[in-house]
């Protein structure tokens, strides 16, 4: 990619203070506090209806802010129209104007500013070449594939030299193969331009692959903000652990407490030891263990050596070969969907079959306590 373009303006930081969005009685975004550093690739991640798109649209200026304040590059933008903000938005379906060819689509904002035809077409060509679409200048959007349309939409958004690019589910309209390719390209473009990207997605895989900073949202609130690795290895809440995937969640009641270690009584009468700063006896808590940090032992023997948290006896319900690892599903008393991801060689050293009685064991250090009251059922809240 390109020498076609001088380094753009550096990315502006975005600060949201107590920002809410209400539609009548419905609260879509609930007093969120968030700072996105300039030049970062930030993913707003969450299920549909979590408020991530409303948040993005408020930053863009396409949605009024019910209360709170949004500042971009230190300047409060609450009352500003979208075009007056140093942002550009790429819409979910790209919203390329169907009656204009690629060149005129990209040159649109310059035309609105009254820039002359030659000048705006030159600039538009420059941007089309940035996204490798210079050969398609005369095509109509309908004559392009999804990936090509996305590139043109990117060029159109970037033509205004924004300091922040806002992307609303940019990859959701593409097929899986193209999604991965465009993902790479978005990331490369962001690094090359050095501007702030805010990318809304419901795919944790996409967020992990792209983001410097992941903001996990649910029910209009921020559940966790952090680097992908932090979010994955230290999910802050039950919701994050469930949403991000790859975790097993176990709930229990504190039976004993001492030396910073609490002993939990599990739903099926199992005993687990968890590192616990200060949880009163009788309290109900939940913890997560990553599926890839668990080992399987064939004999259903209970180990309670110092380094171990405990053992979960169960029956193997599925064995899926995944190449680098083997995914084993367990049916254990009181725990739904318990998955173990064994590395290939570990599995074949001691293979198990569906129906085998096994014990899942993990080290104390891999226990991760979760905030949020554990309630039976699929949804944490």
């Amino acid at each position: 990619m390109g020498d076609a373009r001088k380094p753009a303006a550096t990315g502006a930081d975005i600060r949201l203070s107590g920002v809410s969005k209400r539609y009548g009685d419905i609260v879509a975004v609930d007093e969120i506090e968030l700072t996105i550093p300039g030049g970062a690739y930030c993913c707003l991640l969450g299920p549909s209806g979590c408020g991530k798109t409303s948040t993005l649209r408020m930053i863009a200026g396409h949605e009024t802010i019910s209360s709170g304040e949004i500042a971009i590059g230190g300047q409060v933008v609450n009352g500003l129209a979208p075009a007056q903000r140093p942002t550009a938005m790429m819409f979910q379906n790209y919203a390329l104007f169907p009656h204009l060819n690629c060149l005129d689509n990209v040159a649109f904002s310059l035309k609105m500013q009254g820039v002359g035809k030659t000048e705006r077409h030159d600039k538009a060509r420059e941007l089309l070449s940035l996204v490798h679409m210079e050969g398609f200048a005369a095509r109509l959007p309908a004559q392009l594939s999804g990936g090509q349309q996305q590139r043109v939409a990117l060029a159109r958004a970037l033509v205004t030299n924004p300091q922040v690019l806002l992307l609303d589910e940019p990859l959701s309209a593409l097929d899986p193969f193209l999604r991965v390719r465009m993902r790479d390209e978005l990331r490369r473009l962001q690094i090359e331009l050095g501007i702030t990207f805010v990318h809304v997605t419901h795919s944790q895989e996409e967020a992990m692959a792209l983001a410097d900073l992941i903001v996990v949202m649910d029910h209009g609130r921020i559940e966790q903000v952090g680097a992908p690795r932090t979010v994955y290895s230290e999910p802050a809440t039950l919701f994050v652990a469930r949403f991000i995937g790859g975790h097993n969640i176990i709930t229990g009641t504190v039976a004993e407490q001492g030396n910073g270690i609490a002993t939990l009584s599990g739903p099926g009468g199992q005993r687990f030891r968890v590192p616990s700063p200060s949880v009163p006896t009788g309290a109900s808590i939940a913890f997560a263990v990553r599926a890839d940090k668990i080992a399987l032992e064939k004999a259903a023997q209970t180990q309670s050596t110092d380094g171990h948290s405990g053992a979960l006896p169960g029956t193997v319900t599925s064995v899926e070969y995944q190449g680098a690892w083997v995914q084993v599903g367990l049916d254990a008393a009181g725990v739904d969907e318990f998955t173990v991801a064994l590395n290939e060689s570990a599995f074949f050293d001691q293979p198990v079959e569906v129906g085998d009685q096994v014990s899942a064991v993990w080290a104390l250090e891999h226990v991760h306590l979760l905030a949020g009251a554990p309630i039976a059922g699929a949804e944490p809240y």
Partner: protein, 294 residues
């Protein structure tokens, strides 16, 4: 089995739809000695040439020109008002529902009643004008004023009561399918409300507007009931035609019918052609065929 049954029903439907028109067209080529009904007495264009010379005492070509001119004005106003109303109804406003029903109710009220009402209204206006003229002592009004009714006042209004609800309904369908993110994208790219309408909304809905225009013109061009009590001194073509059916007893009336139907079809074909041409032109600009490797 069911295929043949349904095909038969469909054939009957088509026959009912186009049979009458076909009969008129065929009979308009009646031989010069032929009558108003079958059998044909040879084939000729005799009645068309007779038509060219005029039909009896009425100037049919003047009526033709009047109807076309009125149709074009109705067409223009229908497009402008329908688009404006369609845009307005995209926003929620107080009384939107009531207003919609008031507009559409005009389609349900019998045409002849609408026409009578408009006629009466204009008579009231005339009375007022005369009264005011008389009390002010303006002799020109007292002596020369006849009526404010006319083709481009009362008849125009009568036609609009028919075409505007249709136009609005079409615009509803158009804007229902219209993706709002186009306008948001335009706004994001710095377009003002007017620029967004002019450069984005209007070009995208343009093909549908040709449809609205077509409706406006053809509904006006062949409107009879609503014109009947509201046309004023000069008649529209359908009114003249209705008069002629009772006085003319030759196939000339069929020739006239063929010509007017021809005008309607020409307008429709022109409009469709325009849509196709616009689409082709856009696509041709977009293709890179013949430009070699890119």
């Amino acid at each position: 089995m069911s295929f043949y049954l349904l095909a038969g029903v469909f054939a009957l439907f088509v026959l009912f739809l186009y049979g009458p028109m076909g009969t008129i067209i065929v009979l308009s080529f009646q031989g010069s000695q032929g009558g108003l009904t079958f059998p044909m007495d040879g084939v000729s264009t005799f009645w068309f040439s007779k038509l060219m010379e005029g039909v009896g005492v009425v100037d049919i070509w003047a009526a033709f020109r009047r109807s076309i001119r009125l149709g074009l004005i109705v067409m223009l106003l229908t497009v402008v008002f329908s688009v404006a109303a369609g845009l307005a109804f995209r926003k929620r406003f107080l009384g939107a529902g009531t207003l919609f029903y008031v507009v559409v109710a005009s389609l349900i009220v019998p045409s002849i009643v609408v026409s009578l009402g408009i006629g009466l209204e204009f008579r009231l206006i005339d009375d007022q004008v005369r009264a005011v003229g008389g009390s002010l002592g303006v002799t020109s009004i007292v002596e020369d004023y006849t009526t404010s009714m006319g083709l481009f006042t009362s008849a125009l209004g009568a036609h609009l009561t028919w075409t505007l609800p249709f136009g609005l309904l079409i615009m509803f369908a158009v804007f229902n399918r219209f993706d709002k993110s186009y306008e948001e994208a335009a706004r994001d790219l710095g377009a003002s409300d007017w620029q967004s309408f002019r450069h984005v909304v209007l070009p995208i809905i343009a093909p549908s507007l040709i449809g609205v225009a077509l409706f406006g013109f053809t509904l006006s061009y062949d409107e009879l009931a609503r014109s009947s009590q509201a046309a004023g001194d000069l008649n529209t073509l359908p009114l003249e035609l209705q008069g002629l059916t009772t006085t003319v007893t030759t196939p000339e009336i069929y020739a006239l019918g063929t010509v007017t139907t021809g005008v309607s079809f020409t307008v429709i074909l022109l409009a469709l052609g325009l849509v196709l041409w616009l689409r082709r032109r856009r696509e041709r600009h977009g293709t890179d065929a013949g430009q070699g490797m890119v």
